[in-house]
């Protein structure tokens, strides 16, 4: 069970108010999609969830505990780019999470532990359709394959929360539909909570169980930095909690 609670959250950089008075409660196994104009604090919000930024005021709680101030294995992240390790093959990229958690000293697994990890990684590699590319390096993969690997790499650690920062923004529209099916499949398999920032409104309605719109309520033309953005719409959606079979219409 994962509950995310945000109470009267503010984030300021110097005189610039980025987020003001954000309140939110997200229950277990939700798929939260976040939209909003550029510079409206969506990414700042995500970075706070990740632990890269700390709130200026207010509270950010996971299961009632304050958010740690650094990234950790309970919150996975998929960035738009650069989140794979270029010196590791696809299989090694996928294994890394299991190896790091299983071997605090050398960061590598051996013997039976390694065989178990390999089995688990192979399963997931099949699930994301990358089994044939196991021995390739990330730069030999297409953009869609790279993102699939990046998602699998996070999911293998079974995070409570998965954060997606415009993960499909740089992909061909044709590939995006496949990626939607994949992320829904993994979300239902692992029962995690997903926060996804996106620019694609249709995507946000299609995937989410809850849609958040970040926008500025007040604007002072003389002092554009004086007021920050907040959640202006918090819309519960139907979502796809049951397994998805066929391609989604219009995906």
């Amino acid at each position: 069970m994962t509950q995310v609670t945000v109470k009267h959250l503010w984030k300021t950089f110097g005189n610039q108010v980025v987020l003001e008075n954000v309140n939110l409660h997200v229950g277990d196994h939700e798929f939260v999609t976040i939209v909003g104009a550029s510079g409206c604090g969506k990414t700042t919000f995500l970075r706070m969830l990740l632990g890269m930024e700390t709130p200026s005021r207010g509270e950010f709680l996971i299961d009632g505990n304050a958010l740690p101030s650094e990234p950790g294995p309970d919150r996975g992240i998929v960035f738009q780019r650069y989140s794979l390790f270029p010196h590791l093959t696809v299989m090694q990229n996928l294994l890394l999470g299991l190896e790091l958690r299983g071997a605090p000293l050398c960061g590598r697994l051996f013997g039976a532990a390694r065989r178990r990890a390999l089995e688990r990684a192979k399963e997931l590699l099949d699930a994301v359709g990358l089994a044939a590319a196991a021995d390739k390096y990330p730069q030999q993969l297409s953009g869609g394959m790279q993102q699939r690997l990046s998602i699998a790499q996070s999911v293998i650690c079974e995070p409570k929360i998965l954060l997606l920062d415009e993960p499909f923004g740089a992909l061909d529209p044709g590939i995006t539909a496949d990626m939607h099916l994949l992320i829904l499949k993994l979300w239902n398999m692992n029962k995690m909570t997903i926060f996804m920032v996106t620019h694609d409104l249709q995507e946000s309605f299609e995937l989410g169980t809850r849609l958040l719109v970040f926008d500025k309520v007040r604007v002072d033309p003389q002092a554009p930095d004086a007021f920050g953005a907040t959640i202006t719409f918090n819309i519960p959606l139907k979502g796809h909690r049951e397994p998805v079979q066929a391609p989604m219409p219009g995906g």
Partner: protein
């Protein structure tokens, strides 16, 4: 007529063109050497190829009368031993220091300005200090190279670490990586090819420091020999020695490049 920037030589032409400067310089040497020797058969400045070959044979394949050693190989071995020892020490120190500075902000704040200042001390200027402190032996020569090369490698690698995408470092932490894990599995493996690049770039200055140290205080070595025979205007020794040193440096550079391409297929040169 296409623009010059779009005109490419073919494979054969490119090879011929690359040989051209070498051919020109050899031809010019032969011409002027011949001209000078015609005027004065005792001229020592541009010895004839036959004289150079005879001297080279004497140095490489005949025992020295006084020491009973083959001078060229003896000098080569002495110099290479110093150079490779110093480069190995520099690589180890440079990687340790560079990665630590690149990864740990506290260490960066403490050491980065210091390393930057040290890297600007001209190593040859402190050579006298080294001779005074550690004596005239091998340690002084190796230390000189290490002092000259290590800060360059350390600064280069710390910058390469800083160039790693922030996303990678964050992602590794969300996969459960500790600081030690980050160094061991994410940063270091990506620094090995960078280290080879840094070594290739510092190879030239390493040779410079080696020969300077050997010239001042030594009893064997390539640099020692050149400066020894300078007194007798023995260009027939100096010229082949310089060519030999160049060939050694060139081969080391090529081996490093080859090794990088073979061992780190994921890291294309220049990426």
């Amino acid at each position: 007529m296409r623009r010059l920037v779009n005109q490419q030589p073919g494979r054969g032409a490119a090879f011929g063109l690359s040989a051209l400067p070498f051919i020109l310089i050899v031809a010019a040497y032969l011409f002027y050497s011949h001209a000078r020797l015609l005027e004065n058969p005792g001229d020592k400045l541009l010895p004839a190829p036959a004289t150079i070959a005879a001297t080279l044979h004497e140095y490489a394949f005949e025992e020295d009368e006084r020491s009973g050693e083959y001078l060229l190989w003896n000098d080569t071995w002495a110099s290479l031993e110093r150079l490779l020892t110093a480069l190995a020490i520099s690589a180890f120190l440079g990687v340790t220091l560079g990665v630590a500075i690149g990864v740990l902000p506290y260490l960066k704040a403490t050491l980065a300005p210091f390393v930057a200042v040290v890297s600007l001390i001209p190593p040859l200027a402190i050579l006298p200090i080294l001779f005074i402190v550690v004596g005239l032996g091998e340690v002084a020569k190796i230390t000189l190279i290490v002092i000259g090369v290590t800060p360059v490698i350390a600064r280069d690698l710390s910058m390469r670490v800083a160039e790693l995408p922030r996303e990678q470092i964050i992602k590794a932490q969300t996969l459960g990586a500790s600081t030690w894990h980050l160094v061991l599995r994410v940063v270091l493996p990506q620094m090995w090819p960078r280290l080879l690049d840094a070594l290739r770039l510092t190879l030239g200055s390493a040779w410079l420091f080696l020969i300077a140290a050997e010239a001042i205080a030594s009893t064997e070595g390539l640099g020692y020999r050149i400066f020894l025979v300078r007194r007798y205007l023995a260009m027939d020794v100096i010229l082949p020695y310089v060519a030999w040193i160049t060939l050694l440096a060139f081969s080391m550079d090529g081996l490093l490049r080859l090794f990088r391409a073979k061992a780190f297929a994921w890291a294309k040169a220049g990426v």
